[in-house]
Symmetry: C2
Subunit: 219 residues, 2 copies
DNA sequence: CAGCAGACTATACGATCGTATCTTTTTATG
DNA sequence: CATAAAAAGATACGATCGTATAGTCTGCTG
């Protein structure tokens, strides 16, 4: 029996079209929208258009379903993010100022397009517990380290001011992600959904004015 | 019967020591920490050290308890905030730069000391529904308007760069509030709770470097 | 064909949830 | 004191939740 003969698991891949993956995608949606406590097996099953018992067959309990959903969301995130970062490198690669602008804009657009991991992160951060501890060990330590590295790289290339990297990371993240987090409120208060190119361009432009020593006009 | 004779409701005031207020305070805690779905009448009763049936006696259903809790939290917020803003006016009132720094620092400290309204806000913003609509109509429209007014006032006094006021409000709010929101994560990743004066001073200092045309040093 | 493992389904159990109803205790006032 | 309202407590009901278990269907392999 040759080694190549052994049965291929067909599609044990992550994002195949099996019902298990369908459930994962649905569960990620429901968890992100309804929170952990607001999510039930029945709701996930209905969202995935499968029977409740099938959900429990693939995931032995609710915590397991949640963990697998988080893994799924982070994988989707890490697959999608590079595509956005590439865009910012394609356009006008010689102007440093424009490069930072494009980078921030793409990150903001990415966050609008992939809000799940942000919601899941803040859900757990607002109610610290075992699930947050797990996320910290599994994802956030690496995320923090990666984010800091990106900031420091940009600082070496004189793209960003050379202030404390972790503070700058949190300030920039806040300036961008906060907009996404309050978007549902802004939409209802201002009557305009911030997730459109005009709003994003203006917001990024304002942020750039602050970042690069402020021409202090361009209202 | 003189008009002054009619019975005073004794202490129908908001923050009296009646059991109703005790329940409100407990409910605000539990709602902010566990979310709407994660909060039960029994948990609130236990937190307030009263019987479950008493909670239901004072608040006819869960939505009513939640609304009253939100009102209570916002009232506490609006009573506390001015005290923080006063502090920033007492110290070194002649230097504009120092004034903005003190203002931001006090707002950040206020947010650390009163995280409930932030948590409740983002909880509902991440799962838009009837409760968010109610909050928008009851609080956020006014909050947005007040916040924008503060920014514009600071701009008129040349305390802040004259960029789009609403964008600046969201950028500054993000730079400050994001720090509080991710604080539980930062604490676990960095091993240091950001809610201390050193961390806050450094963070504010970094933010000031960006705001005022970046001396771009002071690491 | 026999058989077996994996995928899927049906059903049930105990716990808890939000709510409703009823009784008891406390308080205020004539 | 009498009494009525308010405050507080006891109990129960239907629904839903997470979980457990037993059964059915399908496709492969010996």
């Amino acid at each position: 029996m040759k080694a190549a003969d052994q049965k291929l698991p067909i599609t044990t891949n992550e994002d195949d079209f099996s019902r298990r993956s369908k459930i994962l995608a649905a569960a990620a949606d429901v968890f992100a929208q309804q929170g952990f406590d607001g999510t039930s097996f029945g709701a996930v099953a209905k969202a995935a258009d499968v029977k409740k018992s099938l959900v429990q067959y693939h995931f032995k309990n609710k915590d397991n379903l949640w963990q697998e959903s988080i893994h799924w969301v982070w994988k989707q995130r890490d697959q999608a993010l590079p595509k956005y970062l590439q865009k910012s490198h394609l356009n006008e690669d010689n102007d440093n100022s424009q490069m930072v602008r494009e980078l921030c804009k793409q990150i903001l657009q990415f966050t609008f397009d992939h809000p799940q991991w942000i919601k899941l992160m803040f859900q757990e951060a607002s109610t610290p517990g075992p699930r947050l501890d797990w996320m910290v060990a599994t994802f956030f330590k690496k995320d923090f380290s990666d984010g800091k590295a990106v900031i420091e790289l940009a600082q070496q290339q004189n793209l960003l001011p050379k202030v404390n990297a972790m503070d700058l990371l949190h300030i920039l993240s806040g300036a961008l992600i906060y907009l996404v987090n309050v978007a549902p409120i802004s939409e209802r208060v201002l009557g305009e959904n911030p997730n459109n190119e005009q709003y994003i361009d203006r917001h990024i432009n304002t942020l750039m004015c602050l970042l690069q020593g402020a021409p202090q006009n361009s209202r």
